[in-house]
């Protein structure tokens, strides 16, 4: 993965999210989104270390993960707008983007739930003789979900090729991590005998390097790795905050958090003209995505329960 490719990914995610926020404001996206703005380096760096056969699970803040994994931005935007042409045919929305053809086993809206799903998928692949790894993304808030801790135990016991990527953005919604996590996040993983690393989550190249080592370890049959990627959420927990104006982060803190911007960090590694060309290319992609999504049909209410069962007598 080249410097330019990593830049393209973080920039694509950033601009996708900024445009999606506009579509929330204009009412084209109902229900709002959990913006990934500020955390782009993690999705970009992690997914750059994977092969097409690998699988990921994502979260409620998942647009970055699936874009980095290669989903078509047109289909993702159409999904956010609840259109039939969306990734999930408009049945999933912002918190559930899935594309099984790209190994995306779904974004999960229950905090910490996907870690055990990813662990099961990775275990199954190994049983089937496949040389794949699974990555499960989650936030610092998930570290207090018992089910996630159970998954760490299963993965370590059975040496499952799964990589646990904790995006520590400092807050579980509004709860500061210092008020929520006793001990340390990596210490919890280490307690299960899982190698755990603190990674600069603002630099895509650092994340890529750390993930590459974890992937090699998993493929070599050495089991899970845990990465705590330190990051900062530049925008709201959810777009409802834009109106609710919850008071839990000081202006100074937000300014400090935004001072290390993954798009700027990676962009600085490219010549100006090359960066401008990538930026223009992305705007064209997103213009096309907007046109595609806005022009796509809404699902037929008569098919509201289509896909509920694989088979029904």
């Amino acid at each position: 993965m080249s410097t330019a490719d990593l830049y393209r990914t973080v920039r694509l995610i950033r601009r996708f999210e900024e445009r999606a926020i506009e579509f929330v404001r204009s009412g084209e996206i109902v229900g709002g989104i959990h913006p990934y703005v500020g955390q782009e380096a993690i999705a970009a760096g992690v997914c750059a270390a994977l092969t097409p056969d690998d699988v990921i699970t994502s979260t409620h803040r998942g647009h970055g993960h699936v874009l980095a994994r290669g989903v078509d931005p047109r289909q993702l935007l159409a999904e956010l707008m609840g259109r039939e042409s969306g990734l999930n045919k408009g049945r999933g929305g912002s918190m559930h983007a899935a594309d099984f053809s790209l190994g995306i086993l779904g974004a999960n809206a229950i905090v910490g739930a996907a870690a055990s799903i990813a662990t099961g998928a990775a275990w199954a692949h190994r049983r089937q003789g496949r040389d794949t790894v699974a990555v499960t993304f989650f936030g610092d808030g998930a570290m207090n979900e018992g089910m996630l801790l159970e998954a760490l135990n299963l993965a370590a016991l059975w040496r499952v090729p799964v990589i646990f990527v904790c995006e520590n953005n400092g807050y579980a919604t509004t709860m500061p991590v210092e008020s929520a996590v006793a001990g340390s996040i990596t210490g919890r993983a280490e307690a299960f005998g899982i190698p755990a690393y603190i990674v600069d989550g603002q630099d895509p190249e650092t994340v890529l390097e750390a993930t590459t080592a974890a992937v090699e370890r998993a493929r070599a049959g050495e089991g899970p790795t845990f990465m705590e990627c330190m990051t900062y959420r530049f925008d709201a927990h959810h777009t409802f905050e834009h109106r609710a104006r919850l008071d839990y982060r000081s202006a100074d803190q937000v300014a400090f958090g935004r001072s290390r911007d993954p798009v700027v960090i990676q962009g600085a590694r490219l010549p100006d003209d090359e960066r401008a060309a990538v930026d223009a290319e992305i705007e064209a992609v997103l213009d096309a995505a907007a046109g595609f999504a806005l022009g796509s049909a809404h699902p037929d209410p008569a098919e509201a329960l289509k896909y509920l069962y694989a088979v029904m007598p």
């Binding site: 099984f100 229950i110 069962y309």
Partner: protein
């Protein structure tokens, strides 16, 4: 003809499924030693990779099964305590069940959840004696509660082959039931199809799980009093065999339901609602259930007092036949 017990039939269904399809594997607590006897002999025959003992991490291993299913496996989880379903309700109702719709049909989640010994286990008290099949039906998870050994075999095989999540309740009070069976005739039983366990003309008794056997006994007893009882065993709680039920009630025009659920919003309540919407009855229908909000107390007499019994069923049948 050889006798086949309910539990042995389930064991045979698991063995046949493991033998037939390499993607099938079992997981659960203490299944290698077969603590419930459900998995007896399977470790030796199929090996530790396909008979997986799990730590006491029900939530994670239930989602683990979902992940394995998304990757092409057909996991079968054994829960030896019915109340564990409360612990993993999120993982079944909110995860496994919802993946197909939420992904626009991109995936299938063929997981089977087997509860070996549901309902009262006699002397196991409040937290080990629930019978929550109605909860699963309510959220739309395919739910089967077989009464007879051949149905236990056939529905377990079908549940494992089904491409959706299926919960299989094996009532504690049915595990010892034995049936004369020609083993060569054991076959899959389709999910969602009930059976007439005994044909009759005067009243339809809908009974589920172990209560089918109580209903059959009552039918025998009442036959001596000139009352002809038809016993309808839905076998599947969800989706319900409405056509089968309708055919029975069209014949008898009287209806009693006996159901080991709590009363409010229970399985019997659903049957009576269906009856009110669709059937023409000659008398108001009756239901025999656990009381509202029941918690099974420990002492044997109290445990029994909470469960629907034959005397209550006889009284209900007499009530719907009163004006005959």
């Amino acid at each position: 003809m050889p006798k086949l017990s309910y539990l042995k039939a389930m064991n045979r269904a698991l063995a046949d499924s493991l033998d037939r399809d390499q993607s099938v594997f079992l997981l659960g607590e203490d299944i290698r030693v077969a603590a419930s006897n459900l998995t007896a002999g399977l470790l030796t025959r199929f090996g530790p990779d396909r008979v997986l003992d799990t730590p006491l991490s029900e939530q994670a291993f239930t989602n683990f099964a979902t992940g394995a299913a998304l990757a092409g496996m057909r996991p079968v989880i054994e829960f030896q305590i019915p109340s564990l379903l409360f612990l993993v309700f999120e993982q079944i109702a909110n995860q496994a069940h919802k993946f197909s719709l939420m992904t626009g049909g991109q995936c299938r989640v063929p997981v089977t959840y087997v509860v070996t010994g549901s309902g009262s286990r006699t002397g196991w008290a409040g937290q080990h004696s629930d019978h929550p099949y109605t909860l699963l039906a309510h959220v739309g998870v395919k739910t089967v509660v077989p009464a007879a050994p051949t149905d236990a075999y056939g529905l377990l095989v079908s549940a494992i082959r089904d491409d959706d999540p299926v919960v299989f309740f094996a009532p504690s009070a049915a595990l010892g039931v034995r049936e004369d069976v020609d083993f060569t005739t054991l076959a899959p039983v389709p999910v969602g199809v009930g059976r007439v366990a005994r044909s009759g003309d005067d009243v339809t008794v809908v009974a589920i799980g172990h209560l089918v056997h109580d209903a059959l006994s009552v039918a025998d007893e009442l036959a001596g009093h000139g009352i002809s009882v038809e016993v309808f065993d839905p076998r599947t709680v969800y989706p319900l065999d409405l056509d089968g039920l309708a055919a029975s009630v069209a014949k008898t025009r009287r209806l009693v339901v006996i159901d080991d659920s709590n009363r409010t919003s229970g399985f019997a309540a659903e049957i009576l609602a269906v009856a009110a919407e669709r059937f023409t009855l000659d008398a108001p229908p009756r239901r025999v259930t656990r009381p509202d909000g029941a918690v099974l107390p420990f002492a044997l007499a109290l445990d029994r007092a909470i469960q629907p019994d034959r005397d209550q069923l006889v009284a209900a049948i007499n009530a719907v036949l009163e004006d005959r």
